[in-house]
Structures are given as C-alpha cells and as structure tokens.
Amino acid sequence: MKSVMLFILAAMLLQPAFSQSEKYVGAMKKNIAAIDSALSKNEFSSLTDIAAGFERIGDAEKTQWLPFYYAAYCRITLAFVKNEVSENDIIADKVDELIAKAVALEKNNSELSLLKAMNTSLRMLVNPMQRWMEFGPKMQQYSQDAMTQDPTNPRPYWFNGVSLKNTPVEFGGGCGNAKPLLDKALELYAGFTPASELHPNWGKQVCEKEVAGCK
C-alpha cells in the first residue's frame, strides 16, 4: 500500500514534467506540419503566424533551440518567396536575432550555419552588385561551416547547388556546374536520418525537382 502511495505520489510529481515534454513535442509537430501545409498549398503568408508560434514555444521553453531554428527558417523562406528585397534587411535583422537565440543553446550546428548562409544571401539580394563584396565571402563561409559541422547534412549542398543553378552559365553557374552539388545533396538525402522527429528534415523533394530540371 505504501509503495502504491509512493507510486501515485511520484506519478503526480512527475506528471507535469512529462506533460510539459509531451506538450512541447505535440506543439512542435503541429507547427512543423503547418509549415508543410502552408508550402504545399502556397499559403505563404501563414508562415509569419507559424514563425511567431515557434518563437512563443522557444521563449516559453527556454532550453530548446529547434523552435528558434524553425521560426528563423519560416521567416527566411517567406522572404525568399515574397522576393521584396527592399524589406530583406529588416527581416534579416529579426532572423539574426532568432538564430542568435538558437546558437546560444546549440553551438556549432550545421543546420544553424546553413540558416546563417541563407540569411546572408537575403541581405545580399537587397543590392547584389554593391553587397557581393561584403556578403559573398560570408555566405560561402557559413555554408562551408555547415558542411564541415555535419558532412552528412544534405541541405548545404542543396543550397549551394540551387545558388549555382540560378547563376548564369556565362558566370560559372547553370546546371552543368550545379548538378554535381545537387547530386551530392540527393545522395546525402537518401542516407539522411534526422536526430529526432523534430529535427530538420526538409528539402529532399525540392532537390529532386531541381535535379530533374537539370536534365
């Protein structure tokens, strides 16, 4: 009887902790699914709401870097889709803030370095002609970091591949030069297993499409 009481007591004490974690996982999964749905239905503007949702989770949890990662990812994605470059600096400032919160909790992470690279390209696009000198090398450094920090991460290769694909052939870009990178990304995607169901696991389908577009 005593042990039963103890068990109930323990269960009661532990309950909040468990439910917190379940709550976190549940909310994260819901939001990650919302990104998927927004992108597949072309409802890009809802990415702002989803980003805010992630940020709320991150601010409440205080020890989880993934909510900030996704919040930054949503804002970057929306900025690229909207392509209103004059707003990029303001968005990039916000993204830097989110990445900094994530980096404070998770150092030397390949996925976060990739976000830095993507955010840097957002800034460069405001005025590529003028800003290439400053942001070009930074962008390359961040994607290089992402590759070094996790050689099995396909996303930095995908990112560099897409960048190159959209660079004119005359300037060393185009499919011919991009294909090896995209192929490498696909190869890595095939063998990629995220650390958990909440960890980043996106980009494969788009990468396949990019490769298909290069044939």
């Binding site: 379940e22 597949s40 004059s86 290089q144 060393g172 990178l181």
Partner: protein
C-alpha cells in the same frame, strides 16, 4: 584618362555579384513528415488536455501611434505557448487555459516590445494595444534635402551606389565627372571643379575622411579642365551635397563633396594595368588575422601615343605625363576602431603652344610643372557609453611652376610691345595642414549629438617674375579655426530634425562668423518622404584676392531647399526646389595696372527646380537614370558691371545615363548623354572709368554622347587565378562640335571660341588582377 589600380577588383565583384542572384521560388517543403500525433499522444492529450478546463479568450486590436494597424504582430502570454498574430486589420484573438496573473507580450518587427500584466479569470478579455515604433536606420526617414549619397550603408533609400561613380560612361573614372550627371552641377568643360546651383567651382569644397582637401584637382591649365587627383576606387562612400549641408562642414558657399575612404581590403591582391597611355602596378596586403593591411601602387601616364593619333588643338612640346604613387595602411585598432593612412604623391609636367589670339603670326606658350604630396590620417572608434570619436589629420604640399611666354612660329621666345605681361614666371608653393575632431553621442532611437572643431592652416608662397626679371614675392598665411555642434532628433521613424551651429574664425580677416543650419525630414508614405533644409554658409574670399588693400569680410550664402523623394522597388524619383541668396560677394576694381578686390558689396541669387529619375527594374539587366536641372541665377561679383547670369550657369542641364550588361558576351555597355542649354558669355573690359561690356552673347547648346564598353572575359571562370577587364571608351562619339565659351584678345578686337582639346577621345586599356591568397572556391573544396 581611365583610372587603373584596383579597377578590376571592383568590376569583378560587380559582375559576379550581379549574377549571383539566388532565386528561390518555393524554396522547400518539410518532406517526409510523419503522421501528426500518435494515438498515445492523442490519448494523453485528451486525458490531460487543458482544453477541457475553462478557457479565456483574449482579443483586441494592435495599432501604431498613428492609429494604423500593425500587421503580423505576435501576441503571447509570457512563458506559455498561447498566443497568435494580428491579421491585416491589426486584430487578434486567442484562447488560453492559463489562469491568474500573467503577462501579455506583444512584439512586432520595427516596433518596441509591449508588455502588461493581465489577470485571467474567465470569459473574454479585450485589450487594445498601441505599439511604439523602434527607430532604426533601416526604417527611419533620411535627412536627404540637398544630398546625393552613394555609400555602403544599409539603407534602402539610397539612389546611388559607389559603383555608379566608376561605371558612368562620360565619367572616365573621374568622381566629379560622374557627379555632373546628377542634378545640380553644371556641364562646364573649360575648367575643372563642380559648379553647383549658380555657384563657382571655388564654392565647392572636398573632404576626405572628414578633413579638407586643398588640391583635389590637378593644377589648372588655361581652357583645359583637369581631372581629380584621386582614384574613385579608394573611396567607399561619396556624399555630394548641393546645399543645406551639416554644420560639420564649412568654408563652402555652394556644395560639399564628402568622401570616405575604404577600410580593409577583402583579400591580398596584386594588380597590373596597361593602356595606350601608360601603365600601373599595385599591391595590397591583408594580414592573416584580417586586422590590418598595407599597400602601394604606382602609375605612369603619358599622353603622347594618344595625342599622336588624336589631333590636339594645342601643339605640345612636353606632352602631359604623370608619375603618381600612393601608399596606405589600415589597422583595426579594436572591434569598432579603425586607423587609416593614405598618402599620395604626384609629379606631372606639360608644355604647349597655341596660336596667339593677341598677335597673329605668334604663339602663346604655357608650361606647368606640378608636384603634390597628400597625407591623410584618420581614426574612428566607438567609446564607452555610446560615444564615438572621429579624428582626422591631413597635410599636403603643392608646388606649381608656371611659365608663360610668346613665341615666334619658329619657336623662339619674343617680347612684343604692349604684350610684355604675357611673359612671366610664376612659382607657387603651398603647405596645408587640416585637422578635425568630432565627438558623437548617440541616444535612444537614432537621436544624437555631435560636436567638435576644425582647424585649417595654409601657407602660400609665390614668386612672380616679370619679363624684365623683376621679382614680386608673395607670402600668405591663413588660419581658419571652427567649432561646431549639431543635434539629430528622431521623434518617430517618420520625423527627423537636425539643427546645428558652426562658429568660424579667420585669422586673415580677423573676423568671426556664426552659421546656423537646420533640416527636417518627414515620411509621407511607403518609401516616400519630404524634406527641407535651411542654412547659412560662409566662405573666405578666394586666395588670389588676399591679402587685400581694403579689409574684406566673409562671403555669405543662404540656402532654402525643399525636396520630395520616393524610392521603391529599384526605382527612385526625387525633385528639389531651391532658393539661394548670396551676400557679401567680393567685388573687384581696377587699381591702375591690375584687378584687385575692393569690397564685399557683391550679391546674387539662384533659384531652380531639379528632377531625378532612376529605374533598374523595368528592363532586366538594364539600368538608367535621367536628371534635369532648371537654374535661374544672377549675380554681381568681381568685375561684373551689373547683376548678370554668370558665364558658368546654363538655364537647362540634363543627363541620361544608361548601363546594360550583356551576359552572352560578358560585356558591360555604358552610354551617357549630357545636355546643357547655351551659357551666356561676356567680354568685360575696363574703359578707364569702370568695367563695361564690350561684347556679350550666348554660346551654342552643348551636347555630348559618350560610350564605354567593359569586356570581362574571366567572369565565371572558377579556376581563374587572375581577373581581367578590357576597356574601350569613346567620348563625344558623334563628333559634335562643342563650345565652352569665348576668349578675347588683349586689345578686345578678336574673339575666339573655347573648344575641347580634341573633338573625340578614345581610350583602350586592360587591367589584370591577381588574387594572392585567394582561398579556393568554397563550393569546389566542399565536394
């Protein structure tokens, strides 16, 4: 002539940057997501779901302080997951199961965070919120009246980029030539300098890293405009203010050209330049830790090959040649501090004859030898408590030896009666020392105060030797000391004010002036703003009128400027209306054998309207701008018999600049057209009692079409160890006859058009850069 040096690095980055656009349309999609919630989770959430408990709805509307809805603001209960974002009308509504004392937090990009304790019990809680704007450089209105800025600052409102200065066809790599395609500046071709809004070239002053530059242009040659001494590639920021500028700058009645030199280079590199008129070589070294750099370059230019092909009006005995050398170092003194040195040396010579207008069958001979040193040291640092210091020192030394004589057609010097004054030697030496210190304190938002002082010392010595060997030495020293203070006030992102005062003392004039400056900017809508500027500007009489027989005073100009600007999506439009009043201009009189300053009774005014339109969006890879200036000005100064429109002021001035890159051939095509309506010309002579007009009229309209082509074959070659740029430039491609004005013979009987030295000029050159420790392409090494 085209500027060599680091040109090609610039162009490399330009083109590579342009075509490295990343286009993500539908970037990604989280793939392979597992099914949302497992059954177990569902069960748990049903069992423990707070949704079974009573909920509170919190709703309301979020507005800014102008009562406009804030869209996409994030509302949350602090430390909970609960919250939402505002819709397009600023409204929000969400449910929560949290109870008791909580904190409601609202955040939005570009706004200050808002939070308030709330007590949650049950039912519906309505909370309307007003957010205050976060004042930042990215969103705040810009004090732009009277100012064209081309800098690397991260603001979207800029209408020009530093790269624009070097890619304008008519500019030939010269900073001031490029600025002449903007509204405000005149197309004066017979002498160097920027003639702004009815002002003389002397009314525009140039500053590098804060300090005054005394010999910005190569020394004057009669009727031939000279280039600026400095390569545009050493500057990262150019501010061209055509009026109403800050109290930090003085001794300029009309305009200020404020240049900021580059910081550390991106990498070590060596470069070579070769053209039909000379060569250059340079090296820049960036230290391993990227905290310091040093570099030097040398160039030699000799116009002989060009003049052999392109016939010049002048007959050169010494074809212009230039030895130019420069050296620099830059040290990062801390995370925010930077110490920079730039030193420049030039030695150049020329001598020519032209048919004399004064006596037919004779020649006028002119020779000039110039040596110039310029040293500039500057330091900037952020101090504790949001204080910032900017200090600059510059020293320059300039030596001009001028020889003038008349010659027979056979080339022998002669002395002709009544024309003896045309034979002389003039040797001039100048030492100039300038110092400036600015302290700045930033407050919340972008508001701040700035104050400091400036010190300009000059020592000019000259020896004039007449035809008979008689020497007239001259010596002149001047010290101008100034103190200034100004405050920036940003009430909101939409309203900014700047007020300043400048106090100056001239030792030579032994007088003091106090000049107030004021400007205001107000955001009228997305990307659009209206601004105004007012200011009083003082300047010493030109050096050649000092020291004077009668005591002189400062000349004075008062500026009133109204501007409207809209910058949106790669398109910029701006228009300015201005009124400028001149007082106390120097009047000259005849003192027996020469013209000398008499008093400060001169006056004048200028008014006009200016338009600028730039469009980079409509046509892909095509960029153009159009500028137009209307100027109505009259002044009575120097020997003018009455108030007249001066010969350096055209009523209508316009430019069209086009830039197009053709990827297939890796070539950039630049074309520019400039127009100026006919300027007036006068012959003013002393008739024994007073100065009077003996002739006057209007010169023909001026048209010029220039073309430049840059071929970049190494663009996109990943394994390239070097980078090359080939340049072809043709000025006045349609060979249009251009007249700058008229000159008169000594006796006033003959009149001759002042025209360019040649109708057309062609330049061909190549520049090659070698990246010394360029890390291999990251993309490659990543494979």
């Amino acid at each position: 002539m085209y500027r060599s040096g680091t040109a090609l690095q610039f162009l490399f980055f330009k083109y590579f940057g342009l075509y490295h656009k990343l286009l993500y349309v539908c970037v990604s999609k989280p793939a392979d997501m597992k099914k949302l919630m497992s059954i177990r989770l569902l069960v748990i959430s049903l069992l423990f779901s707070p949704s079974l408990l009573a909920q509170v709805t919190i709703k309301g509307v979020v507005n800014d302080n102008r009562n406009n809805p804030v869209v996409g603001a994030s509302i949350s209960l602090k430390d909970s997951y609960d919250g939402t974002t505002t819709d397009t009308t600023g409204r929000y509504s969400f449910k929560t199961t949290e109870k008791g004392a909580q904190v409601l937090l609202v955040t939005a990009i570009s706004y200050k965070a808002w939070e308030q304790p709330v007590k949650l019990e049950s039912g519906v809680l309505t909370i309307d919120i007003i957010l205050k704007q976060e004042i930042s450089e990215l969103t705040a209105v810009v004090l732009s009246a009277g100012t064209f800025e081309a800098s690397d600052r991260k603001r979207a409102a800029a209408v020009l980029d530093p790269i624009d200065i070097v890619t304008t066809a008519s500019a030939n790599g010269d900073i001031t030539q490029a600025l002449k395609t903007l509204p405000g500046a005149q197309q004066v071709g017979e002498s160097e300098g920027l003639f702004v809004r009815g002002g003389t070239a002397g009314e525009t002053k140039t500053f590098i890293d804060g300090t005054l530059v005394n010999n910005f242009f190569f020394s004057s040659v009669p009727n031939i405009a000279q280039f600026g001494r400095f390569s545009p590639f050493i500057f990262k920021g150019t501010v061209f203010s055509t009026g109403g500028y800050s109290a930090l700058y003085g001794q300029a009645l009309s305009a200020a050209l404020i240049l900021e030199s580059i910081d550390l280079p991106e990498q070590s590199s060596a470069n070579l330049g070769l053209s039909v008129i000379g060569g250059s070589a340079g090296y820049q070294h960036l230290s391993k830790n990227k905290k310091s750099s040093f570099g030097a370059s040398y160039s030699y230019t000799n116009l002989a090959p060009a003049f052999a092909i392109i016939k010049q009006r002048q007959d050169y005995s010494t074809v212009p040649y230039y030895h130019n050398a420069d050296a620099n170092f830059r040290v990062k003194t801390s995370k925010t501090g930077m110490l920079k040195y730039y030193g420049y040396f030039s030695n150049n010579k020329l001598a020519f004859t032209v048919n004399s207008i004064d006596s037919i069958g004779y020649l006028d001979r002119f020779a000039l030898a110039n040596t110039n040193h310029f040293h500039n040291l500057s330091w900037k640092e952020n101090l504790q408590g949001k204080w910032k210091i900017n200090a600059g020192l510059s020293y320059s030394n300039n030596k001009d030896d001028i020889r003038s004589a008349m010659q027979t057609l056979a080339g022998n010097d002669v002395l002709l009666t009544n024309l003896e004054a045309k034979t002389f030697k003039l040797d001039m030496k100048g030492d100039y020392f300038n110092a400036k210190l600015v302290l700045e304190k930033k407050f919340k938002g972008m508001s701040g105060i700035r104050f400091g002082s400036e010190y300009n010392y000059s020592k000019d010595r000259s020896v004039y030797t007449g035809y008979n060997g008689q020497e007239y030495p001259g010596k002149f020293r001047e010290t101008v000391a100034a103190a200034f203070a100004e405050a920036d006030m940003y009430a909101t992102n939409d309203l900014a004010l700047k007020g300043g005062l400048r106090l100056e003392h001239s030792a030579q004039l032994s007088k003091v002036n106090l000049a107030p400056r004021f400007s205001l900017a107000y955001k009228t809508g997305k990307g659009s703003q209206a601004s105004l500027a007012y200011g009083i500007f003082y300047q010493n009489p030109e050096r050649r009128y000092l020291p004077s027989l009668q005591p002189l005073s400062f000349m004075k100009a008062t500026h009133y400027i109204l501007q409207y600007q809209k910058v949106l999506n790669q398109q910029s439009f701006r228009t300015e209306i201005f009124y400028k009043k001149y007082d106390n201009l120097v009047k000259t009189g005849h003192t027996g054998f020469t013209e000398a300053a008499l008093n400060n009774d001169g006056f004048g005014e200028a008014k006009g309207i200016e338009l600028f339109w730039r469009d980079k969006r409509t046509i892909k890879n095509f960029d153009y701008w159009v500028s137009y200036s209307f100027l109505d000005t009259k002044r009575d100064f120097l020997n003018f018999p009455t108030a007249i429109t001066p010969n350096f002021a055209a009523k209508h001035t316009g430019s069209l600049v086009m830039k197009k890159f053709v990827q297939k051939v890796k070539t950039n095509f630049n074309l520019s057209y400039t127009y100026s309506s006919g300027r007036p010309y006068y012959n003013i002579r002393y008739d024994g009692a007073a100065y009077a007009f003996t002739d006057r009229g209007t010169i023909p309209d001026f048209h010029n079409v220039s073309f430049a082509l840059n071929f970049l074959p190494s663009v996109g070659k990943k394994d390239a160890k070097s980078f090359a740029v080939y340049v072809l430039q043709v000025s006045n491609i349609f060979n249009i006859r251009q007249t700058y004005g008229y000159q008169y013979s000594y006796n006033g009987l003959r009149k001759e058009a002042i025209v360019p030295t040649s109708r057309m000029f062609v330049y061909i050159g190549a520049f090659i850069s070698f990246g010394v420790d360029r890390t291999d392409d990251v993309i490659n090494s990543g494979l």
